[in-house]
């Protein structure tokens, strides 16, 4: 199996270890991973601000980079969602359609396509708070949302449970938004920061040593809040745990 790896801009710039972990993990599972060198961004920041015009160039570049892959995998729920549901600032050519239908967030890819059922190299003997981002939860539907009346399911939990030693603690508001929201974090800074503070304090009170998520963007925001608060809590991406990070 061969996949095209898409690394979101902020991961490329600030959290390369998440990209490295994603790549190494997929390789450990016997997958050939290709990283198109001219990729930049999926277009989400511009599109979420409402500017289709400014998103168009970026989206076209994304399609150009990834149109030859049967599987496009990214360690970011929000990017995967954007490509699947909102990559529409450019005309819907068959190429664009193909890219949109073949893009996966890492956890759903591991759970639904690879059906990976063990990670023998992984061990994470820590108390962990799982942060299901609003995109993976309510849009990609990788786990049951608390508002909906349906049987419980959770792809991230199923996947992480296969890691030796991991223990889960649950905050009092497991799926309340953490307040990142992309440009919201800057344009509505007061509420965004308050939401972030509430989120990390909730996990901290529940006893979490780490907060783990499938989206580094949310974690970046939560980490910034926790550091400013001086809270003893660490942040790690799901790819890193699955790839064998011990801390």
């Amino acid at each position: 199996m061969k996949v095209g790896l898409f690394i979101p801009c902020y991961v490329d710039a600030f959290f390369p270890e998440v990209g490295i972990a994603t790549l190494e993990l997929l390789e450990k599972l016997g997958i050939e991973v290709v990283y198109p060198l001219n990729q930049t961004c999926c277009g989400q920041p511009m599109a979420n601000a409402g500017s289709q015009k400014d998103a168009a160039g970026v989206e076209a570049l994304f399609v150009k980079n990834f149109c030859d892959f049967e599987f496009i995998v990214t360690p970011s729920g929000s990017c995967a969602h954007h490509v699947r549901e909102h990559l529409d600032a450019i005309p819907e050519t068959p190429e664009v359609q193909k890219v949109r239908h073949h893009t996966y967030e890492l956890v759903e890819f591991l759970h639904d396509i690879v059906k990976a059922d063990e990670f023998p190299w992984a061990e994470f003997p820590h108390k962990v708070g799982l942060h299901n981002t609003c995109t993976t939860l309510r849009k990609l539907r990788t786990a049951k949302a608390s508002e909906i009346d349906e049987p419980f399911f959770s792809k991230p939990l199923d996947t992480l449970r296969k890691v030796r030693g991991i223990q889960f603690v649950e905050p009092s508001r497991p799926d309340e938004c953490c307040g990142f929201g992309g440009t919201f974090s800057v344009f509505e800074e007061p509420v965004s920061a308050k939401m972030g503070y509430d989120k990390v304090q909730d996990h901290h009170r529940a006893g979490a040593e780490y907060i783990v998520s499938a989206d580094m963007s949310c974690l970046m925001h939560q980490k910034g809040c926790a550091e400013r608060l001086g809270l003893e809590i660490r942040f790690i991406h799901i790819a890193q745990i699955l790839n064998g990070s011990r801390a």
Partner: protein, 458 residues
């Protein structure tokens, strides 16, 4: 006229720590109660689908159903009036009151009358209006609009209410016991119910098959307003129509469960015809609804049954309060309705959201709220409603991201800046991110450089 600045208003709200903490906790509690009720009904999701289907069907045949309602209502002995907009609504109501020399009006909660700004209009023409819903009356006495459509004074603590009542209706200063304060209000309002010449209610639903309308309250104030005076005026938005009583069951089962987490309101009142010797006037109001009906991305917002569940679940609303939206309708539903009234004034509201989607999940009629918020952002950009700073920032990011070399240069420049600039240069008023958060550390190399070093032949 400057657009409403939600972010600025929210910063003041957040500073009042005790108020913020109560507001957030109280509304989250209503959300949890709602969950308990919803999970206790196996057919809950099916009810949501039915409610959505009923509303979409009705709205797509709205003219016929409105006419059916009118025919029935007139046969029942009610008068039916039609108001194209807020001013006409106010004129009609004034006309009905003045023709009968009515000087005092007791009214129950109606967001529609807030929307039409009815009170000042009538007051300047010599009509005394008494809000009888406790939350609405608190706000009326404090000369402040309601902040939440179901619990209008949820942003106030008991000390605030005590202060207002001591100032205006002779409550004992310093007595902040909610039971005492509610009793003071009960005794103060009762004479108005007994002596008012006219009573006014809104309506939660209007049933086309019988010309009936339904009012749901917990206090009994709507029933007093409607059943004591000899004149009952009901103001109803044209989108409140549903076809039959059989459909009503679906909505009544979900309304209070969604709003307050209780199976039903204490009073669910159905009005079909006036009491003998009295008059019933129904005023249908358009005020932009027919126009919204024609907006292909936004007409679903007309399904709204005004339960407030979206406000209770919204993490932004809970931490900023309804008044920070500067409109009659606030929170998620407000964001998708208000720009249709005034696109410039409310141009910021679609950005007062993280697009987390919780609102859409709790909406009993399945309005795709967060998707409409997303869509409104596109309209704001198309209609040039973004402030220059935002517009430019987005344009520049878009340009940088569409060209790989520019992107790579920007990343290393940012990295260099963060690494080498002193703290005060990064954390200042120009950098909102840094106001209450640390900026990420700069890694040794980007992913791309690592990849080039470790996975490609040099």
């Amino acid at each position: 006229m400057r657009p409403i600045n939600h972010a600025e208003a929210s910063s003041h709200f957040i500073e009042a720590k005790e108020h913020l903490e109560f507001h957030d906790r109280r509304l989250w509690d209503l959300r949890l109660k709602r969950d308990r009720q919803a999970h206790g009904i196996p057919e809950w999701e099916e009810l949501r689908n039915l409610a959505s289907t009923i509303k979409e069907h009705t709205l797509s045949h709205l003219a016929d159903y409105l006419e059916q309602f009118e025919t029935q209502a007139k046969t029942n002995g009610a008068h039916v009036h039609w108001a194209r907009d807020a001013s006409e609504h106010n004129e009609i109501v004034y006309g009905i009151l003045s023709a009968r020399s009515a000087k005092t009006l007791v009214k129950s909660k109606s967001m529609l009358t807030e929307e039409c700004d009815m009170r000042p209009y009538l007051e300047t023409r010599g009509i005394r209006i008494i809000e009888t819903d406790l939350g609405e009356r608190i706000q009326q006495l404090d000369d402040e609009p309601p902040s939440h459509i179901v619990v209008p004074a949820v942003h106030k603590l008991r000390d605030d209410v005590s202060e207002v009542f001591a100032r205006t209706i002779e409550a004992q200063p310093g007595n902040n016991d909610p039971h005492y304060l509610a009793e003071v209000m009960r005794r103060n309002t009762r004479p108005y119910f007994l002596n008012a010449e006219a009573g006014m209610t809104g309506a939660n639903f209007a049933i086309a098959e019988t010309g009936s309308f339904v009012v749901c309250t917990n206090e009994g104030n709507a029933d007093l307003s409607a059943n004591v005076p000899k004149l009952h005026i009901a103001c109803i938005g044209i989108e409140k129509i549903i076809p039959k009583f059989e459909h009503l069951a679906v909505f009544i089962r979900m309304l209070s469960r969604s709003a307050l987490g209780s199976p039903i309101t204490q009073y669910t009142s159905h009005f079909r015809a006036p009491r003998p010797g009295t008059e019933l006037h129904i005023v249908f109001v358009d005020n932009g609804r027919s126009q919204r009906l024609g907006m292909k991305d936004f007409w679903y917002s007309l399904k709204c049954i005004r339960c407030g569940a979206c406000m209770n679940t919204c993490p932004v609303y809970r931490r900023s309060g309804g008044l920070s939206y500067g409109a009659t309708y606030s929170g998620p539903i407000g964001i998708i309705i208000d720009p249709a009234f005034d696109i410039r004034k409310y141009s910021n509201l679609p950005y007062a959201s993280t697009l987390n989607g919780s609102c859409t999940n709790v909406c009993p009629v399945k309005i795709n709220i967060h998707e409409q918020i997303y869509k409104w952002r596109q309209i704001m950009v198309e209609r040039n409603q973004l402030p220059l700073v935002k517009k430019e920032a987005i344009r520049i990011i878009g340009k940088v991201m569409s060209e790989p070399q520019l992107y790579r240069a920007a990343i290393s420049a940012t990295g260099l800046a963060i690494e080498h600039l002193p703290r005060f240069a990064i954390y200042n008023w120009l950098n909102p991110w840094g106001k209450q958060r640390e900026v990420p550390e700069v890694p040794k190399q980007s992913f791309r450089s690592w990849y080039l070093e470790n996975r490609t032949r040099q």
